[in-house]
Symmetry: C2
């Protein structure tokens, strides 16, 4: 398999990052986020549980630095050449008194980076306090500048090729939701529903398969419906339950999310009333989304609808979504909520997530959306009504 | 669903951690590793992608601090009471200029912890440099002591109840491997094999279902066989391929790993020769494992066999395994390799992982093992020969 995108795509991404580095006066950037490794180079392996970085400099190709047994994955998932792959030895993995970042830091020093201004990500998964301390020790004269989310913000606006892949991810999650609708019933174990869902997420369709999703698939049923991210159990669904389902579809590591709510048999009127308000709120949000719209104004459109129905929701109603390994498919950039001044731009992809977690029940509804030249398009297309299983 | 274990189990675990804290002179311990949150309290939710800690003190019950929308999961997955659950507000999640650790730090200050000796984990996923900096700012007079892996080492020796759950995890992965053997064939897409595998991992059997495994399931086929952690693709298996499969089974978040190798049709003699050496090496390793054995001696037993066959393997041949969310099921404690002085003890669980990644092909063989009172037991039981699909 070649890398997910043509070489020119990765070159354009690198140029974007280098331009932002130049603007900030960074000589080099240490990228710790494996999602960004994939985005910037195509590198794709389940190897980020040991320390791994991509180093970006000006007038140089990016360099992957990671564990020796994983360096081979660069050969068939990226366009990196052998001198752009610098592995550290196996015997420093999870061993007391030594750390892979000692080797990575020494490698950076060899490249002449000590004494330079180096950006790092202060708040990304998998780049730990110790990793940072060891790098600093290896490059004692470097000036370290927090460049958290620099690459994430570069990732927010998708290329047309990325949008195409996210459309495929949307097809995968629609398929998974259909399987869930066909499978769920009183007496079915939650784990058996989930088995059918993950099989569809991964097996995909005749044209393409999928990956595991960055966010674990979620079933909110019974007592678990009052909280946002519960894990499934062996319990059987029971008649009368309201069940919220939040799944993804993931294609070439790009995620599309979709949440819907199912009612097993007769449901309480409050459910249908709330669903109607949420659907109306969603329509108002979609109406407000377009290039130039400000994130807090999009949220205001939602809040105006909720106010009419006396409903409240404390958490944000949407966030940037895209390339991602676990545990999160959010990009940690755009958030739709009060006080956010981010201006929406064409080709941003946003998971509009309207989860209502109330005192003793809950429901969810979401769409993965694409900001277009003039408005918004739902990449996920699926009936929005509460699905009643009779 | 009640928590995974009886209350007394969690009380014993807490006492273990508090004893080690006392030995090190720690007044409090900030635990960032979600695997340890689960181990110590039972807390189980896919919520660790936003900052979340468990705080342990002496003469006090542990306290979970995390995102508001996730606090509810503590109600039905733990024995924590309402005053042991301290959520931070939604609007500080992934917002510039504010950080959840500001709230967590303020909460710790309220508990009177400023000026005290506080342990933290310097090298765990999900506890970032910024998280640490913000905590330090909120508790300016605290003395911070690196207590990385303190809880992980407490986790190495399993209770009998944990062993029972790991036996169930072993049943799950055996089931998944059988499904893989039944499904794999030339012409089958890798994603379709994986769909069948994850469905079995999650759906389990009639007695119990499973979770997603902490380590992504892996297929090493074709060019990807030369590296350790490649991701599956849509490609079809082809006749003549050697395919290594590394899967887990996960029950109540406890993982058991199992790797085997499949040959599609006639295979090269080097494969069967290498497999015979590896099987002999595995038997030597199992012979050497018992309470009192030293990790490097166990590795020596393996190396002695490899030396006879002129084979080399740079990476470690085993590591502690147990409770874990992604991305790793290893405990980051025991490693079987040269120079490791860890003494094996009864009820340690170790994934003996014999991956041979050679220049242009590879194979794998592994067992999840339990150190017993007098030797070792394989929790996974599965034929070890190369499975030839004819």
């Amino acid at each position: 398999m070649p890398p997910a995108f043509p070489k020119a795509e990765y070159e354009a991404r690198l140029a974007k990052v280098q331009a932002e580095m130049a603007r900030r006066g960074l000589d080099a950037l240490v990228i710790g986020d494996p999602n960004s490794h994939n985005w910037l180079t195509g590198y794709d392996a389940w190897s980020f549980y040991t320390p791994q970085i991509v180093l970006v400099q000006h007038d140089a190709e990016p360099i992957w630095m990671g564990r020796k047994m994983d360096g081979g994955a660069a050969r068939f998932t990226t366009y990196l050449t052998d001198d752009q792959v610098r592995p550290y030895p196996e015997d420093c993995v999870q061993r007391e008194g030594v750390h892979p970042m000692d080797f990575i830091g020494a490698s950076m020093a060899e490249l002449g980076l000590d004494g330079h201004v180096i950006g790092y990500e202060s708040d990304t998964y998998f780049f730990t306090p110790k990793a940072f301390t060891r790098l600093q020790a290896a490059l004692p004269s470097a000036r370290w500048q927090d460049a958290d989310l620099l690459v994430n913000w570069c990732r927010t606006i998708k290329s047309d090729a990325e949008v195409e892949v996210m459309r495929q991810a949307a097809r995968l999650v629609e398929g998974a939701m259909t399987v869930a609708y066909e499978t769920i019933a009183p007496g079915v174990r939650q784990c058996d529903l989930m088995a059918a869902v993950v099989a569809k997420q991964v097996g995909g369709n005749k044209d393409f398969g999928g990956d595991l999703t960055a966010l674990s698939p979620l079933i909110l049923a019974g007592e678990a419906a009052t909280t946002a991210h519960p894990m499934w159990t062996d319990e059987k669904f029971v008649a009368g339950q309201t069940v919220a389902l939040e799944f993804g579809g993931t294609r070439k590591r790009y995620n599309a999310g979709l949440a819907r709510t199912v009612q097993l048999g007769a449901g309480p009127q409050r459910l249908f009333d709330t669903a109607n308000a949420v659907i109306e709120g969603l329509e108002a949000v979609l109406e407000a989304m377009k290039p130039g719209a400000i994130a807090h104004d999009v949220h205001r459109a939602w809040q105006d609808v909720l106010d009419q129905y006396g409903l409240t929701k404390e958490s944000r109603i949407g966030y940037g979504i895209g390339v991602g390994y676990g545990p999160d498919w959010g990009e940690h950039t755009v958030s739709l909520r009060p006080g956010e001044t981010t201006v929406l731009q064409a080709n941003m992809t946003i998971h509009v997530m309207l989860g209502m977690w109330l005192d003793d029940w809950g429901m969810e509804m979401s769409e993965t959306t694409l900001v277009t030249a003039s408005g918004v398009e739902c990449l996920t297309t699926y009936p929005r009504d509460i699905h009643v299983v009779t």
